[in-house]
């Protein structure tokens, strides 16, 4: 069965499809407003007519390329090309400004590949064991996981914790728009039918992370020419020395473990994984103050982790049919169309295809490393385009990206609206990353809280009596105390210095 699967994947037409998928994926991932999800969605109908292994391999190539491609624009344009690479911007952007674009890109690509491989290893070896455990998860556990994930807002708030929390709450509030979970009442739509399904995450991301910056460039147009410099870029191999590789080993392992775990947990995607491991690496670092100023550790943490999510997210997908994030939800559709029914029996019933998925993942990881590194020179050439010409073109791509998900001009208005919101946030010095986290986790938090309380007749004690739930809640509490203590100490030191 395994040999048959390997033969299917190594067939020239399948290999060609994987390469096509990876290249198109990288392009979709790197253009802001187009995402890995969109690439997979667009090619899904095309894969239906293919032989199952070919079709699924194409989709996997797109997924792999799409998640990794985001790092290119995250580093070169300081705009995450795909939601997963938000955390790559934090240090990748400053690195490029300091003339280290090549190193940031090289390390990003290399660690995307390594992260993917670790994710795949996790998928192959731990899937059956974890399936047994996650099968026991109820809304109680899911709610606690959401609370735990929300607690990371505390450490991403920058100078003002209160403003960070306000931003996160605002994100939770805009996630309320549209049909409510469970009873499907429409909330805060103000009679606009376009809002029934709520705001689209793509619109919010593109608005807050891309359009805001384009509007700001308008306010700053006199300096647009001077800030633009062709960044010196030289890169041999992947820009990482053996010494650095050894130093980053712990970072790599920690970030991939976080990526795999986040991938396994439903509802949380690569974006949260990138942010979580960025924070974890920052907190574990001996020089946390250097994070955000252009340090390769940050890029490595984010890129390793968001690619490790791929393998992780396929664990619950294959064994239980639960999609870990939006891309795997689309993949699930692809699997079912080809008659592959995810579940505990998938290895017996569709073993050839499952092993095919494993091999396709491994092949596409290497294809990604090859193409993204090989064509890096072309991507870096993006910097030659002057900003006053590039930014309007980026805006058009944002508009196309927003429009294409539903073919509605309304979605482009949302992009502009969120762009203006981002502008107001910047003016008032409110951080916008917590807004995104709040938005992503909003529905999951509410739905599971309500389901859990329905099941327990309104008794909240089960959140603390169930061990897995308690563990997540305790971790969240300890994490918040840790951040608060750090801030308190920082302020005390600052006051002492002032005096």
């Amino acid at each position: 069965m395994i040999t048959q699967a390997l033969m299917n994947v190594l067939n020239p037409s399948c290999l060609a499809l994987i390469c096509l998928g990876v290249i198109v994926g990288i392009i979709f991932g790197s253009i802001p407003g187009l995402s890995a999800t969109m690439a997979v969605v667009l090619f899904l109908p095309m894969s239906f007519g293919m032989e199952p292994t070919n079709g699924i391999s194409l989709l996997i190539g797109l997924y792999m390329g799409g998640i990794s491609g985001g790092l290119i624009s995250a580093i070169l344009l300081k705009i995450p090309g795909t939601p997963s690479s938000i955390a790559t911007v934090f240090d990748g952007g400053p690195m490029a400004e300091h003339g280290e674009a090549g190193k940031a890109l090289g390390a990003g690509i290399l660690y995307s590949g390594l992260g993917s491989l670790i994710g795949i290893i996790a998928l192959i070896f731990i899937a059956p064991y974890l399936a047994a455990l996650t099968l026991k998860f109820t809304p109680v556990e899911y709610f606690s996981i959401a609370v735990f994930s929300l607690s990371i807002i505390a450490s991403l708030s920058g100078d003002s914790l209160v403003k960070g929390i306000l931003s996160g709450l605002f994100g939770l509030a805009i996630a309320l728009v549209g049909m409510a979970p469970i009873d499907a009442i429409d909330r805060f739509t103000f009679g606009n039918f376009n809002l029934l399904s709520g705001f689209d995450i793509i619109g919010i991301l593109v608005g807050v992370f891309a359009v805001t910056d384009i509007i700001i460039s308008g306010f700053d147009r006199q300096h647009l020419g001077d800030t633009y410099k062709k960044l010196p870029y030289s890169l041999k191999g992947f820009g990482i020395t053996m010494q650095e590789f050894k130093e980053q080993f712990g970072n790599m392992i920690r970030s991939s473990i976080i990526g795999v775990i986040i991938g396994i947990l439903p509802g949380i995607g690569g974006n949260v994984a990138g942010l979580l491991s960025y924070t974890a690496t920052k907190n574990a670092s001996k020089h946390p103050e250097k994070f955000g100023t252009g340090i390769v550790d940050g890029v490595i943490a984010s890129e390793t982790s968001n690619n490790a999510v791929i393998g992780g997210s396929l664990i619950p997908l294959i064994t239980m049919g639960i999609p870990g994030n939006t891309v795997s939800a689309v993949l699930l559709g692809g699997l079912t169309i080809h008659g592959i029914n995810p579940g505990p029996l998938i290895f017996e019933k569709s073993g050839v295809y499952v092993y095919g998925i494993f091999f396709a993942l491994i092949v596409s990881t290497f294809a990604m490393l090859l193409f993204e590194r090989g064509a890096l020179r072309i991507f870096v050439k993006l910097l030659d385009i002057p900003k006053h010409i590039l930014l309007p073109i980026v805006m058009v791509c944002c508009a196309v990206g927003a429009y294409s998900s539903n073919s509605r001009v309304f979605d482009i208005w949302c992009v502009l609206g969120f762009g203006l919101l981002g502008l107001v946030f910047k003016m008032l010095k409110v951080p916008s990353t917590p807004l995104i986290i709040g938005f992503i986790l909003g529905k999951m938090t509410e739905e599971n809280l309500r389901r859990a309380l329905q099941a327990s007749n309104g008794d909240i004690s089960m959140f603390f009596t169930r061990p897995i739930s308690l563990a997540f809640l305790l971790t969240a509490a300890v994490f918040i105390c840790y951040v608060l203590w750090g801030k308190y100490k920082g302020r005390k030191n600052k006051l002492a210095e002032d005096e």
């Binding site: 409510a180 009873d183 009442i185 909330r187 509007i215 308008g218 010409i389 309007p392 196309v400 008032l428």
Partner: protein
């Protein structure tokens, strides 16, 4: 505008938003027994926003550290023109069609962002038309993702 004013505006705006959210969630009814209802979670968020806005207000008012006025050399005209240009683009997206509206948007937006030193109008016109056509062809013909055709129907 100094930081103190910014913080005061910030807490004011968030408090009003929280109050509005609370007011709006009052009308959401509970449909099922044993359920908290779809109005419960919005109320929790609304109250949290109001509380945090008040905390921000208290912190700002009790903070005695002097905040210097920030010097800004923001080009208000450039920013407002950019926003207006984007809004006009979106408004004309469907009726004029992707090709025309995009070419026009690109041309004016590049013009707004350029300075006297690097302003080369024929080049801008060429780039605007070429980029619109390239993006259109890629999306419509290569990946069959429909874009509005508007008054140019092909």
């Amino acid at each position: 505008m100094n930081d103190k004013t910014k913080n005061l505006i910030c807490s004011g705006v968030f408090f009003l938003f929280g109050a509005f959210l609370y007011f709006e969630s009052l009308s959401i009814k509970v449909l099922m027994t044993k359920d908290l209802g779809s109005g419960f979670f919005p109320k929790v968020i609304a109250v949290s926003i109001m509380v945090m806005a008040i905390v921000e207000l208290i912190i700002t008012l009790t903070n005695k550290r002097i905040v210097k006025d920030e010097k800004t050399d923001r080009d208000i005209k450039g920013g407002l023109l950019t926003i207006m240009c984007m809004a006009a683009y979106i408004a004309l997206y469907d009726s004029l069609g992707f090709l025309l509206s995009t070419a026009l948007y690109l041309f004016f937006q590049i013009l707004i962002l350029s300075t006297e030193k690097n302003r080369r109008i024929p080049l801008f016109a060429l780039i605007s038309v070429a980029s619109s056509v390239v993006i259109y062809v890629i999306f419509v013909y290569a990946i069959s993702m429909p874009l509005p055709t508007g008054i140019l129907s092909f």
